[in-house]
């Protein structure tokens, strides 16, 4: 469980006491006056599927390119499998990269593209053939091996790129926005395929993405980046349920965020006065009484009813439905509180309505309530 | 594509630029030589410029003829080349398109002696047949220049036409513009930068041409290259160095103006982008 006061790093997941495969220490990279990556520390363990998540220009791609050896840090060190990479050029590193554009050689067939990396290692022809065949089988492209990249669909190209970067059995596979070029449906399907393949081959993956859903589905652990720094590192659940800052709470998923003032700091609970009324939280946040903090409440963690609350107390309020967004499986309600604030609430559409509309509609008076564990308290 | 430039490439670039510019720089320096023997330095002087400016009516007659030809050529070549590019890019398939495309590209590489020779025999045959052109000179040189210049204009405009795509034209058509209106209101304005560079290219090509003009010119009609050539064939001449310096200076000024205009436009684009980005934030 995260502590809102702690530094934005979580302990390394060290399953069997082994050394981390990647050790990044105090790495900084500047382009002219712009600092792309600033004093970053990170350990990644063997077999992890680690996601670097952030908006454009947050430094995630630069960090990945430093791991691949396309950029070199100004200061700090990068160790891969215990070896310092400071003077190791890209072509001698035990890493392989899957490019966002796939970077498939347009003048070579699928087979030649995949074999290219192995040919550099002066491996015997027969073995190259075997390994190419094997990896193309894994990505289900055996029938396409004679084709040129231009003759493949987007999804097929993506799989060739994956095969090409995996065939050398790298210690570390770097994936730069691996699914960004695919359409939404294919992307969802491929997310699971990618995770399955990673499990099968057991290679450590580092994935750069701007898509939070992709990061959550894929990763065993992820880092949220902003302005060249890590904001928070943790498992998808930790990041989603226990954000440490407003930035993370807002960036991952959506949240109603409002300021509040701590009125009581008990041993097993905390009370905060907000525009929503009193918020009662029953888990281990610690904030001094009287301090100004932020309360974040996820739209799906709010119960929405048309019948009034039975008892008075904290963690409840009321308002009027201002707007409804019907999304099929859920609906998004914009509820205007009596003080004018708008709160987002999502509710699953659990039953198929008898009429053509769901129960709650515009201008309805509604009552909001949430569990004592649901509100997230943020120090900054 | 940017990337790291290796030392080898930097050295090659430096050698290349030195190779390009040292001869020109020396040409300029020796134009200020007092001596009549160009490469034998005997002190600074501007006497060759004086001779050129005040005592060379034939040079100025040639300059005037060349500029006239270049201007008319550039204007017609831009017009014809643009039409040709439109036909190639926007008109789809038609009978004779391959022939048309071939005739449009061939002048880019056709050796000048062949073009010049063939145009000369054409003009002679035409005169035999219909009595026109009665005299070879301004008209015949201009026609010859238009023929090869329009190919360069067409290539320039074609690249731009393909680059801007057809979406805007389709949008205009969707909003009810008739094809001719689309052409004048959307396509042509989009092409303006290419039209300007095409015109300038045609102008320069015409000023530069010696071989074709030599073939199709008649008695008394000397363009500037013909005049320069007839003089330097016999060896180095200090007044030609002075003339070369003036031409280089003139080109440099034109290029500098173009560069400043382009830089301003670039800065304006950047500012617009920043402004637009600010709107989103």
């Amino acid at each position: 469980m995260a502590d809102a006061q702690s530094a934005p790093t979580t302990p390394i997941h060290d399953q069997n006491g082994s050394e981390p495969i990647v050790q990044i220490r105090g790495v900084t990279k500047k382009f002219g006056d712009v600092t792309a990556v600033e004093n970053v520390d990170l350990d990644i363990m063997q077999g992890e599927l680690f996601c670097l998540l952030g908006g454009s220009g947050c430094g995630k791609s630069t960090l990945l390119r430093m791991l691949a050896g396309f950029e070199f840090p100004e200061s700090g060190s990068i160790n891969i499998d215990g070896v310092n990479m400071s003077d190791v050029p890209a072509f001698e590193r035990p890493t392989n990269m899957m490019f966002q554009s796939y970077a498939l050689f347009p003048h070579m067939s699928v087979e030649k593209n995949v074999a290219f990396g192995l040919e550099q290692d002066k491996i015997a022809k027969a073995e190259i053939e075997d390994r190419v065949h094997e990896i193309l089988k894994l990505v289900e492209l055996e029938d396409y091996k004679k084709r040129k990249p231009q003759q493949l669909s987007g999804g097929q190209r993506q799989r060739v790129a994956l095969a090409r970067s995996l065939v050398k059995e790298p210690k570390l596979l770097l994936l730069d926005e691996p699914l960004a070029a695919l359409d939404k449906k294919l992307r969802k399907q491929t997310q699971f395929e990618l995770a399955n393949i990673q499990e099968q081959v057991g290679v450590t993956f580092i994935v750069v993405t701007h898509d939070q859903e992709e990061a959550m589905t894929l990763s065993t652990r992820m880092a949220v980046m902003d302005k060249g720094r890590f904001i928070q590192i943790g498992t998808p659940t930790e990041i989603y349920e226990f954000p440490e800052t407003r930035f993370v709470a807002d960036f991952i998923g959506s949240a109603n965020i409002m300021p509040g003032k701590v009125t009581e700091n008990g041993a097993d609970h905390i009370r905060v006065a907000t525009d929503l009324g009193e918020v009662y939280v029953d888990h281990g946040h610690t904030f001094a009484e009287g301090s100004q903090i932020w309360v974040a409440l996820r739209p799906e963690k709010i119960y929405l009813t048309t019948s009034p609350h039975e008892t008075a107390g904290p963690n409840q309020t009321e308002g009027m439905v201002d707007d409804i967004g019907y999304l099929g499986e859920t609906s998004l309600y914009k509820v205007r509180l009596t003080n004018g604030e708008i709160i987002d609430v999502t509710a699953p559409n659990l039953i198929r309505p008898k009429t053509r509309t769901h129960g709650i509609t515009w201008k309805d008076k509604v009552y909001l309530r949430w569990e004592p564990s649901s509100a997230m308290l943020l120090g900054s | 594509m940017y990337g790291k430039r290796s030392r080898f490439l930097t050295i090659m670039l430096s050698i290349g630029l030195a190779f390009f510019y040292i001869p020109m720089i020396l040409l300029v320096i020796y134009s200020f030589n007092y001596s009549k023997l160009v490469p034998v330095w005997s002190g600074w002087s501007i006497r060759w410029y004086e001779k050129l400016l005040f005592d060379s009516p034939d040079v100025w007659a040639a300059v005037s003829l060349s500029l006239k030809i270049a201007f008319v050529n550039a204007t017609f070549a831009t017009l014809l080349g643009t039409l040709a590019a439109l036909v190639m890019v926007r008109f789809g398939r038609f009978k004779g398109r391959t022939l048309f495309g071939g005739m449009l590209v061939a002048p880019l590489v056709m050796p000048e002696v062949i073009t010049g020779l063939s145009l000369l025999v054409l003009f002679i045959s035409l005169k035999e047949a219909i009595g026109w052109p009665a005299e070879r000179g301004f008209t015949t040189i201009t026609i010859a220049h238009i023929t090869f210049s329009m190919a360069y204009v067409a290539v320039t405009v074609q690249a731009r036409l393909t680059g801007v795509g057809q979406t805007l034209e389709e949008a205009a058509a969707d909003l009810g513009a008739k094809p001719f209106k689309v052409l004048t209101a959307i396509t042509i304005p989009q092409l303006t930068p290419a039209l300007i560079s095409g015109w300038l290219l045609a102008f320069t090509l015409s000023l530069d041409d010696l071989v074709i003009a030599s073939f199709v010119t008649g008695p008394g009609a000397n363009t500037l290259p013909i005049l320069i050539f007839s003089r330097i064939r016999l060896g180095l001449r200090p007044d030609i160095n002075a003339l070369a310096t003036i031409i280089i200076l003139f080109v440099a000024i034109c290029v500098a103006i173009a560069a400043i205009l382009m830089f301003r436009q670039h800065r304006r684009d950047l500012r617009d982008q920043q402004l637009a980005a600010g709107e989103d934030a």
Binding site: A90, F116, K168 | F20, A84, A106, I228, V255
Partner: protein, 314 residues
Amino acid sequence: MSDTIGDTTAPSALQRLGRWAQSRWRTIIVVIPFAWLLLFFLAPFFIVAKISVAELAIASPPFTKMIEWTDGGILTIRIVFDNFIYILEDSLYVNTYINSLKISVTCTILCLLLGYPIAYGIVRSGPVAKPLLLFAIILPFWTSFLLRVYAWMGLLADQGTINNLLIAMGVIDEPIRMLYTVFAVYLGIVYTYMPFMILPLYANMEKLDGSLNEAAADLGSRPTNTFFKVTLPLTMPGIIAGSLLVFIPATGEYVIPDLLGGGNVQMIGRVLFNEFSRNTDWPVAAAVAIVLLFLLVLPIILFQYYQGKASEAS
């Protein structure tokens, strides 16, 4: 121009008029440049071809007519191949053709060897240096071709800058003869045609996806290997376009062999020019031109093919 004929079954007269007007402006746009090129580009070649199979005659123009009505009203067509036989049997002409090809092929290779790293250097330069360097390469192109050749005359002459410099430095006592040699012709062609090699190469390289080089490095390929396995094959279109842009016009070059080669370097362009202006044996000159065109027709078609492919790709 098959798509320009209006539909005659249109119902109303007004509609028909409108449709006809619309089809007409399209026709005009096609016809004007098409007619110009047919008249001033294609037709002249046929006339040259016609003259090349005529005989020299004392007349104006100085050759026999191909089709003639003789006295009895009989149509005679006269085609003689004597001119071609004369050219191909004369070792002077044959050697000049071979010499021209040799010089233009060598210059094309030299331009490629020098121009490729220059173009690659520009492509690999930073965002500020790149446009400046490109500008510096194009700039000489805008100044006079003739004057660029003339500049070398000053450098290479017996009393020229290079000889003066070498003598002053004590490297040589007697001037080395450089002007009016084949060396000067090579130098002049390479110098003036270099931009035609660099620009298509640059355009081709600029379009390359930089991540392809990174991908190769990532897969363990050293820079040299990456160059030969990835960059070189992918820049082939640029190499071919640039080479043809140098090779074809250089083969027929007239000014450079005349000014820098003097009378000592025989190239076919110069022979053709002189044949035409000094002698008045037009049929032979026309035949010389036709043979030259015949030699270059394959490269020209190749160039058109690549040019067409390039404009379709972009």
